[in-house]
Amino acid sequence: MGRSQLGLALATLMLFAGGASAADVKLVYIGEISGSIAVSGGNFRDGIILAVEEINAAGGILKEKIALSQLDTQTNPGVARSQTQKAIDGDPYVVLGPIFSGNVKATMQMLQQAEIPHLIGGEAGELTALGDRYLFRTSFGQQIGMPKIANYIRDELKAKTVALIWVNNDFGKGGRDNLLKQLAERNIKLVADVSTESGQVDFAADVVKLKAANADAVFVYSNEEECARIMREARKQGLKGPFVGDTTLLSQKTIELAGDAANGVQGHVGLTADAPIPAVAEFTAKFQKRFNYKPDHNGIKGYTAVYAVKYVTEKKLGKFDRKAFAQTMHGLTITPQDEPAILIETTWDNTGEIDRISFLAEVVAGQQKITKILPKLGK
């Protein structure tokens, strides 16, 4: 083959190889597309996809289309690390995810060292206390949500004793530790402390332990699938509630999987597709039309994360600068007036912790019903 023919062949190959053109802005989603947290990871991913499609249809960010890559952590920290290295090698502008707090902990240092901003879905309390200047939440940490739900248990349920069932991973441990502290401060006694495993399917023995505790309220803190299985087993064995939780117990996926067993559960939700806010309702309708299922809070997290990237880059920076992006995010408030697709006014503090209004809710006839709106902690 002559030189010119070789050059033409190479040029043709390069034309068809790879998806991103030189002018695209690279976003990478490192998330739980399979494994025990696939429910959350899939929702988050679809929220991102919806936002990327909208932004690209409107011209992209600073006239550059978003090239989105998806890397599956398989809900495994070892895999998450190798996927993160792969992402870093591709020199992305921003990384979105992971959602599983264990995977966030396993990968955050790598992204911090590479100075790549990462908007995570993890909610374990300690994530924003580890000094990572490039990490930003897309939903409340547990240290924000647990005081609110503890107040609800004390003031609305008037419960003096609580039986707790929780998942033994970073998310569950962090939530448990936060909750125990809040309950102790309010003189509410913990009469059962049942730890379960991520991906566990049989909860018969655990529910028997909860029944034996005979508590005023049962607090369920696990991932969506496990919450659904716990509720099914609880109803099967006639465990009396009230059942209380934070976000995952009342999420759309839990309600779908648990069916009638979810009716009557109550709790705090940081974000919900059932929020009585027109912008959220509009997002929910768009998401449902695009993906044929109702999003849970993770879908909102993924969607608003991409729009936060767009807002900061276009309105605050006017350029693609990862370091400046991270610096700008600290102390930033984005209102729906600034960026309608942020849906709810959102503030990030100097640790990357997020602050928004939140909600108390109850599941009634298979639907999450908001019973109260709680204000932002700051401002």
């Binding site: 597309i33 399979s34 494994g35 025990s36 696939a38 429910v39 899939g42 033994n168 049942v194 730890s195 379960t196 495993e197 991906g199 566990q200 399917v201 049989d202 018969a204 023995a205 655990d206 028997v208 332990k209 029944k211 034996a212 699938e225 659904a228 299985r229 099914r232 087993e233 109803r235 099967k236 064995q237 006639g238 996926k253 779908e256 999987l257 648990a258 069916g259 009638d260 067993a261």
Partner: protein
Amino acid sequence: MADILQLLVAGLATGAIYALVAIGFTLLWQTSQTINFAQGEFVMLPAFFVLIGTGYFGLSFWPAVALATVVSVVVLGLLFKRLIVDPMMRHGVLPLVIATIGLAIFFKEAVREFYGADAQPFPPVVAATEVTVFGVTLALQSLVVLAISIAAVVALQLFLSGTRTGRCMQACAQNPTVARLLGIPVERMILYTFLINAALVTLASILITPIYLAKFTNGEWLGLYAFIAAIIGGFNQVRGAIVGGLLLGVIDNFAAAYLSSQYRMAIPLLILIVVVLVRPQGLLGRIEERTV
């Protein structure tokens, strides 16, 4: 006392499922020297056939179950034997074992790819209510699962010992050469075993999936527990599989309740090690000898 009874019933119900699946292991081993490491995925699949029947073909639950049963028996019984077991068996047991491991991965990833990675709700056979028995509140679902499993096992035993076909199948399991000499169509009897296994795993799937939800990973732990149950009970005895399954279900539940949820998986594995060391043929198994 009430707690113990509730744990016992829940454990027996779960154990009955393990027993159904473990019986499949032992039947296949006895008649055709097949160890099917895709057995767990065989239990996972029929639930998705039902969901396809209700979701894509618009059938109501019981017609979808009937359709799923037919599809499962054809795919997991007939096609499995003709396309995987028969060609691989010529090369020995180990290649067949590896082929079934590959089949397990194929089924799991196929469901993940074409149906989804999320867990799916599955309609229960009976409502999730409780009943009071001798003053103790028990879950109706657990009692029904136990009752149906016992009925299935009794029916199978009656079939194997009380019908001509069943006795022919037992003869093939004991000595296929002599069975052939006696005019028993050995190949057909082996095929029946595969079809019975497919029916048993379908039944196990319908009973267990409402509780555990339909998910592509369900086969991993179920196959492992059933395999352990079969070894503990005795890999060459159907009765051993039943005892092993029930024992495992009860021990697992009590271990989780009174020892530790975190280490509940360790207890069955410890029992497995002890049985293999002390009584390798299993609790009810026969010592197998070969003449050289």
